[in-house]
């Protein structure tokens, strides 16, 4: 099939973790990106530091589809442990690259797959003396082989290595040598390039390649976060690491050399969120990042922040849970836990980024929202978005932008006020005025507590006062509906009786599914959710469609439940499209599940067949 697979295939690297394969694999993905071709790498890794199987999938798609695709066209297998399943994962007609230093077990041989043996271990033993170098350069040799087999421009690889090892020319030279070992071996042993191959395009524009967690960290720097408290947990750890690495460069006071930020690694997630609440109460912008188990632990404090009305920013990088192992896989399964986090009548504001650009923007915006609404803002990202590199629109910032600190009274305002009421709904929007400790010698102080207080923050256990406060909190909730990021509609007017709803990392595959189904003649309207609470647009979208498919990555259709519960819609028309095996949802899963639901209709009334 000549040319049919140019710029449209999946490469999977099967490695042993802890062997330095990640940077070699990234080099490959980045080279594709630099050749102007849309690329999406995904790291599938174990809860382990050294010795267990790890995979790195790279999807190359001229059409710009960035979702995970099933089936591997070219497998680079350098891990004997996982070889049996790696062989089976290759598409018929695909390629299997392996280390032929040792003869291939005949049981591994499939007649519909082309085998390409590279004597990686042999070459390393011969060319390098240091044991660690032998291990590391094995990875670079196969990248070299791939560059010959797939037509990667050598100058691109050279340039990337030069950028990676600035000032370490010796390392660059050794890497180039390793690349050439792979290239030369292919040149002298195989026909190249393969039918799957790369051709330079100009499809990237000004896009960037970055992981969502780093983008969140950078967003927090731009959003003015100064106090960060956290507890290590995969996959959220790199949010704070990202913040710190940017802050070290961008937040050092020029005169004193001191840091215009403070980070504390807390003793647990309870302490982390407690610190964030304390800092925000005291007028600093503060955030933490965690994952499912941490969110569970933070529930009590999230309730306090809700009732005491303290701005709080929490980034939840969702994963499979609990325990260890599967938690290094992705999921969107904290939706309900986050939406109703804590005891008592609580509802929390959630935002759902889908790209690194949105991770950056929504994190920065979360600080404005938190202070505007005086409540926790929980960003619901996930492992796939957070820890994998994604092609994204570049980050953007308006220099005229000011932080919106919300309703905070300063000393002069307090001076002019006859009596300050912390929970007095002066503006009739449910949002009241707060003061920061230390503002005024005699005015504006109040005692912060949960629910037992009146409009002037005076202690009371009067049930009527409590109910009045709860109603005001609901009014604030309604105000929030049109303040939070609006849903994104894919059409100006409805053109189908079927609607798709999705959010976060399901977006890539959902968009591809829409394209694919449209080319089969079946059009869907679609809406991408970007926040909770849902506004009227979300309700209207559901009400104006006969069937609505809710695409999400958890077992119980948590977003579907939330929509049904909050918007009082008929559950019968809300069809769940779910994936919960820990791998990012694919276009194949989406189409086959929709197909399954629609097939009686299709068979009965139309002849449309979905691919």
């Amino acid at each position: 099939m000549p040319n049919s697979k140019v710029n449209d295939f999946v490469v999977r690297f099967a490695n042993v973790n802890g062997t330095g394969s990640a940077s070699a694999n990234y080099l490959f993905a980045k080279a594709v990106f630099r050749m102007g071709i849309p690329v999406t790498p995904k790291n599938i890794f174990p809860s382990n530091i050294q010795g267990l199987p790890t995979w790195y999938d790279v999807r190359i798609s001229e059409k710009g589809y960035l979702g995970r695709r099933e089936g591997v066209d070219l497998m680079v297998c350098v891990n004997p442990q996982s070889m049996p399943e790696d062989v089976l994962a290759v598409n018929s007609g695909g390629y299997f690259i392996y280390d032929c230093t040792k003869a291939l077990n005949p049981a591994m041989i499939r007649s519909d797959v082309t085998y390409i043996g590279l004597p990686l271990m042999d070459m390393c033993l011969r060319e390098f003396t240091d044991p660690r170098q032998r291990q590391l350069f094995k990875n670079i040799i196969y990248v070299g082989a791939l560059s010959a087999l797939l037509d990667i421009e050598f100058s691109v690889l050279e340039q990337l290595l030069a950028e990676q090892f600035v000032g370490k020319e010796k390392l660059v030279a050794m890497n180039i040598k390793a690349l050439n070992l792979g290239i030369d071996y292919v040149h002298s042993h195989f026909t190249y390039p393969l039918d799957i191959r790369l051709e330079r395009r100009d499809l990237i524009g000004d896009k960037i390649l970055i992981d969502g967690n780093s983008a969140c960290g950078l967003g927090a720097v731009y959003g003015g976060a100064t106090v960060v408290a956290w507890y290590p947990i995969t996959p959220s750890t790199s949010v704070v690491e990202g913040f710190e690495s940017y802050a070290k460069k961008l937040r050092i006071d020029k005169e004193t050399g001191k840091r215009n930020y403070a980070i504390v690694q807390a003793e647990d997630e309870l302490a982390a969120i407690g610190m964030v609440i304390g800092a925000n109460w005291n007028g600093a912008r503060s955030f933490t990042a965690t994952s499912g188990p941490g969110l569970s632990l933070m529930n009590e404090f999230l309730g306090l922040a809700y009732f005491a009305e303290i701005p709080t920013v929490l980034i939840d990088v969702q994963r499979t849970g609990p325990s260890t192992g599967m938690p290094t896989r992705t999921q969107q399964s904290d939706i309900l836990l986050a939406a109703y986090a804590s005891h008592g009548d609580t509802k929390q504001v959630l935002v759902f980024p889908a790209t690194p650009k949105e991770c950056f923007e929504m994190t920065a915006e979360a600080f404005d929202l938190a202070e505007l609404l005086q409540t926790p803002i929980i960003m619901m990202t996930d492992l796939d978005l957070g820890m994998n590199d994604h092609m994204s629109e570049p980050f953007h910032w308006e220099d005229s932008r000011k932080y919106n600190r919300g309703k905070v009274l300063n000393a002069d305002q307090l001076e002019d006020l006859p009596r300050f009421g912390r929970y007095l709904d002066v503006d009739d929007d449910g949002i009241t005025y707060r003061t920061i400790p230390g503002t005024h010698p005699t005015k504006g102080s109040f005692f912060t507590r949960g629910t037992s207080r009146d409009e002037y923050a005076v202690y009371t256990e009067d049930g009527r006062v409590y109910a009045r406060n709860m109603d005001r909190l609901l009014k604030k909730w309604n105000t929030a509906k049109d303040v939070v990021p609006a849903p994104y509609l894919y059409q100006k007017e409805n053109k189908s009786s079927y609607g798709l709803i999705f959010f976060g990392t399901s977006t890539y595959s959902a968009e591809e599914a829409m394209d694919t189904m449209a080319s089969s003649g079946l059009d869907f309207d679609a809406m991408r959710l970007r926040a909770f609470p849902f506004n009227q647009t979300v309700a209207d979208f559901i009400h104006s469609h006969e069937k609505v498919f809710i695409i999400e990555q958890n077992r119980d259709g948590q977003m579907r439940s939330l929509l049904i519960n909050e918007l009082d819609v008929n559950p019968q028309k809300m069809i769940p499209v779910l994936n919960y095996d820990g791998m990012p949802i694919t276009v194949h899963t989406i189409i086959s599940l929709i197909n399954k639901n629609l097939s009686p209709v299709i068979n009965g009334s139309t002849s449309k067949i979905l691919s």
Binding site: T226, A262, L304, P437, S445
Partner: protein
């Protein structure tokens, strides 16, 4: 304790350097039981802040949950207060302090709030040497849930209903010493003369200052057989010596005979004067403080006073090299790197 407090104040009430009387340091009326040790401690906190002439709005009061944690409502009404989550006051105080290093943080907790549910946060706030005062109002029982034994109740101590606590107590002062606290004191709610100067010294200390105050629960743990009753504590108390805090501008040593005391200079320029130290007591020696505490315990005595101080200690802000300016005063100007920098970052990601 419900009564109506008269609004009238004597016109000749003494004024401090700010021109305030103690009235400016009062809070709401206490609703704790009549005779509760906690109310006496509240009074000592009030007195200490008055005597130090601290502007009330420069103090932030923080607490967890329990009878003790209700008390910040009953002193320093012109200060912001935060009645947070059970056992989690240290984390809220940590965040607050990180946000604004210039305020004084007065943390109030109880034995349940600190020695049980809050043990982890207590240990870690010590480890970080957060610049705060941490007072435990220690009555050996859970008052607000009606008298259950707490983790500081002594083994063999009898509850009001007659049951005997079978478990070893957690000695919070000993633990604080072990964990490296830079200021550790112990006192008794009924000994205002000792407690007020200790609180003043704790406020002046530029690091974590811990005061464990035995504070009898008149309702649930003041019976014969309890080791946290007024009678028991009065009979078993042993003081390390008298201490006083001398403000920076006072004539040092003016009122003290030389050779009878030790002065400790604190980082804010004040001195703590320790008088009549027990034989061979050295307030700078952590090991010795631990030994003295243990020896007193073995004699069934409660050692009170300033047990240990490290006047040269460096707090969390120093450790993490954070800005001298309070972080909550920084704006876009200092915090936002701007669009030109962002363009460079974008370029690096291509």
């Amino acid at each position: 304790m419900t009564y109506i407090r008269p609004k009238f104040r004597h016109p000749d009430l003494p004024k401090n350097d700010l021109g305030y009387t103690t009235k400016e340091y009062e809070g709401s009326l206490s609703t704790l039981c009549a005779g509760c040790g906690h109310d006496s401690i509240s009074g000592s906190i009030l007195q200490a802040c008055f005597e130090l002439s601290i502007a009330p709005h420069r103090i932030a009061k923080l607490s967890g949950i329990g009878c003790s944690s209700k008390t910040p409502n009953y002193f320093l009404g012109n200060s912001h207060g935060f009645n947070s989550v059970h056992g989690r006051m240290p984390s809220v105080a940590t965040g607050a302090n990180m946000a604004n290093r210039d305020l004084i943080y007065m943390g109030v907790s109880g034995d349940g709030d600190t020695a049980s549910i809050g043990m982890g946060q207590f240990a870690h706030v010590i480890r970080r040497n957060l610049n705060m005062v941490y007072i435990v109002m220690n009555n050996g029982c859970y008052g607000l849930t009606k008298g259950q034994d707490s983790a500081t109740a002594d083994a063999g101590s009898k509850s009001k209903a007659g049951s005997v606590n079978p478990f070893q107590p957690i000695d919070l002062a000993g633990l604080a010493l072990e964990l490296g606290a830079s200021f550790v004191a112990q006192s008794f709610s009924g000994d205002k003369e000792q407690l007020v100067p200790l609180i003043k010294a704790a406020v002046s200390h530029q690091g974590f200052a811990f005061i464990n105050v035995i504070s009898p629960c008149v309702t649930f743990n003041n019976n014969p057989g309890s080791t946290k009753s007024y009678d028991y504590v009065r009979e078993h108390i042993e003081a390390t010596g008298k201490s006083d805090l001398i403000p920076e501008k006072s004539e040092i040593l003016a009122n003290y005979e030389s050779g009878t005391g030790t002065e400790v200079m604190l980082h804010d320029g004040t001195f703590i004067k320790l008088e009549k130290l027990a034989a061979n007591r050295d307030p700078f020696n952590r090991m010795e403080a631990m030994d003295a505490l243990r020896d007193a315990r073995n004699r069934d005595e409660i050692l009170t006073g300033l047990l240990y101080i490290d006047p040269d200690t460096e707090d969390l802000h120093h450790t993490i090299s954070s800005s001298e300016r309070p972080l909550n005063t920084l704006s876009e100007v200092e915090l936002c790197p701007g669009s030109a920098t962002l363009s460079e970052i974008n370029e690096d990601l291509r």
